[in-house]
């Protein structure tokens, strides 16, 4: 109950930003050349002006901007995300179909980036300025500098074209009709490369943060106390340094959640994953305003939710924070 209250409070605090985004995007897209009916006409391969006018009337595009914005916001209050002209069904169900791929991708990338980033950061900090540190830090810099889509493309060339180990794109093989474990395994093979691609830059960031935070914590007074107590280095790292050094990492997860959603636009496009990111890209191109705003709404909720979980985690890790 207390948790729910806390979550609601978080949501309320984020509300102004959310409304700002939705209204801002709505108005911004009014300036775009062409509307969703133009996109529909392109998809249809043509049609006369009467059809276009008819469609505009049907989708309410003949109303004033203010009226449409008002109607949109009012519907949003009742948690109705509206109807997608391009996909011909409610936005909520369009998004729901695309959500799993993105969630799997993001979770996988988060997990991979932070677990490996943590491990590598710890090793680098323990061997600071020796070869393992140099190697890991250099790798981190290179990962950071690699454009993710390019890495994805090169991974496709290597792993899908030449080695033929992993599929080049898509999200599971429908025609094979896998079920149970086979289906999970199948999906996993499709996710390996996208997850790696998306995770790369976050791995680099996490590694760097972990290393820096390990080094910082290692220089703190209480670590000197631990040394003065005669603890072994392993015990000092495991019991005293690690948990303190994790705090900035947890904060990082919250900060990167939004960026990761942005990154998934490109990664999903490289690997043709049916996810939210590509849907967002498509709805911008198709001027599918309702879908785009719906995605923004959902992804903002997602970011808020991630940050909420991060806060809870932080409070659990750090007794100084009173939930």
């Amino acid at each position: 109950m207390k948790l729910l209250l806390l979550a609601l409070r978080r949501l309320a605090a984020s509300l102004p930003a959310l409304v700002l985004i939705l209204v801002g995007l709505f108005l911004l897209l009014q300036l775009a050349p062409g509307d969703t009916v133009d996109a529909l006409m392109a998809q249809m391969g043509g049609g006369d002006a009467a059809i276009a006018a008819d469609l505009r009337r049907f989708y309410g595009l003949d109303l004033s901007v203010a009226a449409r914005l008002g109607a949109y916001l009012w519907r949003l209050v009742t948690l109705d995300l509206g109807f997608s002209a391009i996909y011909g069904k409610p936005v909520a169900s369009v998004i729901l179909e695309r959500l799993p791929a993105t969630l799997l991708l993001m979770m996988g990338a988060l997990f991979f980036a932070f677990s490996f980033g943590m491990a590598l950061g710890v090793v680098a900090a323990r061997r600071v300025n020796q070869w393992p540190d140099t190697l890991i830090s250099t790798l981190g810099l290179i990962f950071y500098a690699t454009p993710s889509f390019w890495f994805g493309l090169m991974a496709i060339v290597l792993f899908s074209v030449y080695l033929q180990w992993l599929p080049a794109g898509g999200f599971g093989d429908v025609a094979m009709g896998y079920t149970g474990w086979a289906a999970i395994w199948d999906t996993a093979t499709y996710l390996v490369l996208p997850v790696l691609t998306l995770a790369l830059i976050f791995l680099a960031i996490a590694l760097r943060i972990m290393r820096a935070s390990m080094l910082e914590v290692q220089g703190m007074d209480f670590v000197r106390t631990a040394r003065a107590k005669g603890l072994s280095e392993t015990r000092i790292v495991a019991r005293h340094v690690l948990r303190n050094a994790l705090l900035p990492m947890v904060t990082l997860i919250g900060l990167q959640a939004g960026t990761m959603l942005g990154g998934s636009v490109v990664v999903e496009s490289v690997f043709t994953l049916p996810g939210l990111g590509r849907l967002a890209y498509e709805s911008v191109v198709q001027r599918d305003l309702n879908t785009l705003l719906g995605i923004v709404f959902v992804s903002a909720l997602l970011v808020i939710a991630v940050n909420f979980v991060v806060d809870l985690l932080y409070a659990r890790l750090d007794p100084r924070i009173v939930g």
Partner: protein, 505 residues
């Protein structure tokens, strides 16, 4: 070179104080004994032996905590913030012995009981941030002594504590040492503390031990000139004879109230009353000292008078008129000298500019303002040519002089000095105090002097007000208040001043 040919012995059951100013190498000595030198530092020559065995390598680590314990200066950061106090103490036995969990828990509890924590079982379960500074230092001591080491190294363990707490912790160390027969190496910069606790004293200057001997010898008949100079610089708790004071009230404070906290829609905190109906008077050409421990509200008072904080209620009158609201108008009336000489100057601007910019903002021509700045530099004992330099080219004491020059450039009616010497070494402290006294005599300054150090207050103030929890509990001529304190709090403060029986009482 941080240390040069440092040799000393420490006998069982004695307390050796290593005393010196900042940079004398006393802390490096402590770290070297623990084998915990910072990366980049190494022992080039010499050896350290414990009970006749030379310390080296891994064996050293096994001895740490077990046969040598250590207490550090900063109790707020010396404990792991994410680990319960009990677990941190228990670690001593867990690592160095094979005792079972229950036995360890029992011993932890006993250790905390011994150092006199109010609620030992509660303290075991607490996180460090839930304890006060003094309590944490007690935990540190309990932990350092858990395995009954032969040697306890204390690196300025009371410097960060309030004077009453300091007295309690010193007493505790003394008591534990006596009970266990531990040898204590006590690092400090404060001769008062030395007088309070030392059996023997070693005085260090720039990495060299210049004098060593029993506490009696060193404190009462110092042989080395450096020791003599240091001892001479320690301010006396006894005030000089009172001066006649002007009747003119340059600053009047009436019923000042300031409350912190209790703001915000969502988070609700207990409001803290920082100033509780404070009324004071500063006479022209005199110094009014505000003394008290941390949290007593003395800094809040200084900030209110300086116009940096707005009080919730009450009036501040300067030369009979209420403080103007405008920044410009207030600038001519009140100026301030700050505590931290490193934070009070902009590192990226020439110091002369920083002195001259105030008058220039008031409309003075640049050339004239710079000329005045040069004159002020000479007035505060600096080279006039130094105006073109940057802050990092000056020592702490010199910076404080620049800070004073900057304040004087505005020709204020009232000078607020917020702990202006507490960050300085004792010898520099004496020089800055002398400068303030000199300037007051020459310029007729009216000074509101904030300090936690009763010795400093005794030396510079004409009148003093003692503050506790936001309220003034006692005020009057400094000699009167210090020699005949009425309020119990004033009495306990005075009683806690370390070494007052030996040094300069």
């Amino acid at each position: 070179m941080a240390l040069d040919n440092v040799s000393f012995d420490l006998a069982a059951g004695e307390i050796l104080c290593v005393v010196g100013e900042s940079g004398s190498g006393k802390s490096v000595t402590a770290s070297a004994i623990m084998g915990l030198l910072a990366p980049g530092l190494a022992v080039v020559a010499g050896e350290i032996s414990l009970g006749g065995v030379v310390l080296r390598g891994d064996a050293w680590r096994a001895l740490r905590g077990c046969r040598i314990g250590m207490v550090f200066q900063e109790p707020m950061t010396a404990l792991n913030p994410l680990m319960r106090v009990g677990a941190q103490i228990a670690e001593m036995w867990r690592v160095h012995t094979d005792l079972g969990s229950e036995e360890i828990a029992a011993r932890s509890l006993r250790a905390l009981e011994e150092v006199g924590l109010p609620d030992p079982p509660g303290a075991l379960r607490a996180y460090p941030h839930e304890l006060s500074g003094g309590q944490r230092q007690r935990v540190m001591i309990a932990m350092a002594l858990a395995l009954e080491p032969e040697v306890l190294i204390c690196d300025e363990p009371t410097t960060a504590l309030d004077v009453t707490t300091q007295a309690q912790v010193l007493a505790l160390i003394r008591a534990m040492q006596a009970r266990r027969g531990t040898a204590v190496l006590f690092i400090t910069h404060d001769f008062g503390v030395v007088a309070e606790i030392a059996d023997r004293v070693a005085v260090m200057q720039r990495g060299v031990i210049v004098e060593q001997g029993s506490a009696m010898e060193v404190l009462e008949s110092p042989r080395h000139p450096y020791t003599r100079a240091l001892l001479a610089a320690v301010p006396k708790l006894q005030a000089p004879p009172p001066r006649a004071l002007s009747e003119e009230r340059v600053l009047e404070i009436e019923g000042l109230v300031k409350t912190y906290g209790a703001r915000g829609l969502l988070q609700r905190r207990q409001p803290v009353r920082a100033l509780d109906d404070v009324s004071l008077v500063l006479r022209a050409g005199s110094t009014l000292g505000i003394v008290g421990e941390s949290g007593s509200g003395k800094s809040t008072l200084a900030r209110c008078v300086a116009g940096m904080l707005r009080a919730d209620a009450g009036v501040i009158r300067i030369a009979g008129a209420p403080m103007p609201k405008g920044r410009r108008a207030a600038a001519r009336l009140v100026q301030m000298v700050f505590q931290d000489p490193y934070a009070s100057l902009n590192p990226r601007r020439r110091v002369g500019e920083q002195v001259a910019q105030g008058p220039m903002a008031m409309g003075m021509a640049r050339a004239q303002a710079m000329a005045e700045a040069r004159a002020l530099f000479e007035l505060v004992g600096l080279d006039a040519a130094a105006v073109t330099r940057f802050a990092h080219e000056f020592s702490g004491g010199q910076r404080q002089r620049i800070g004073i020059a900057r304040a004087l450039a505005m020709k204020p009616r009232v000078l607020v000095a917020d702990e202006p010497v507490s960050a300085l070494d004792v010898s520099v402290q004496a020089q800055v105090l002398a400068l303030l006294r000199d300037l007051q005599a020459r310029l007729g300054l009216s000074i509101l002097f904030i300090t936690h150090d009763l010795r400093v207050a005794a030396q510079i103030c004409d009148e003093v007000a003692v503050m506790q929890r936001g309220a003034v509990v006692e005020q009057g001529r400094v000699g009167t208040v210090f020699s005949d304190p009425r309020h119990p709090y004033t009495r306990s403060l005075l009683a806690s001043v370390p070494g007052r029986m030996v040094v300069g009482a």
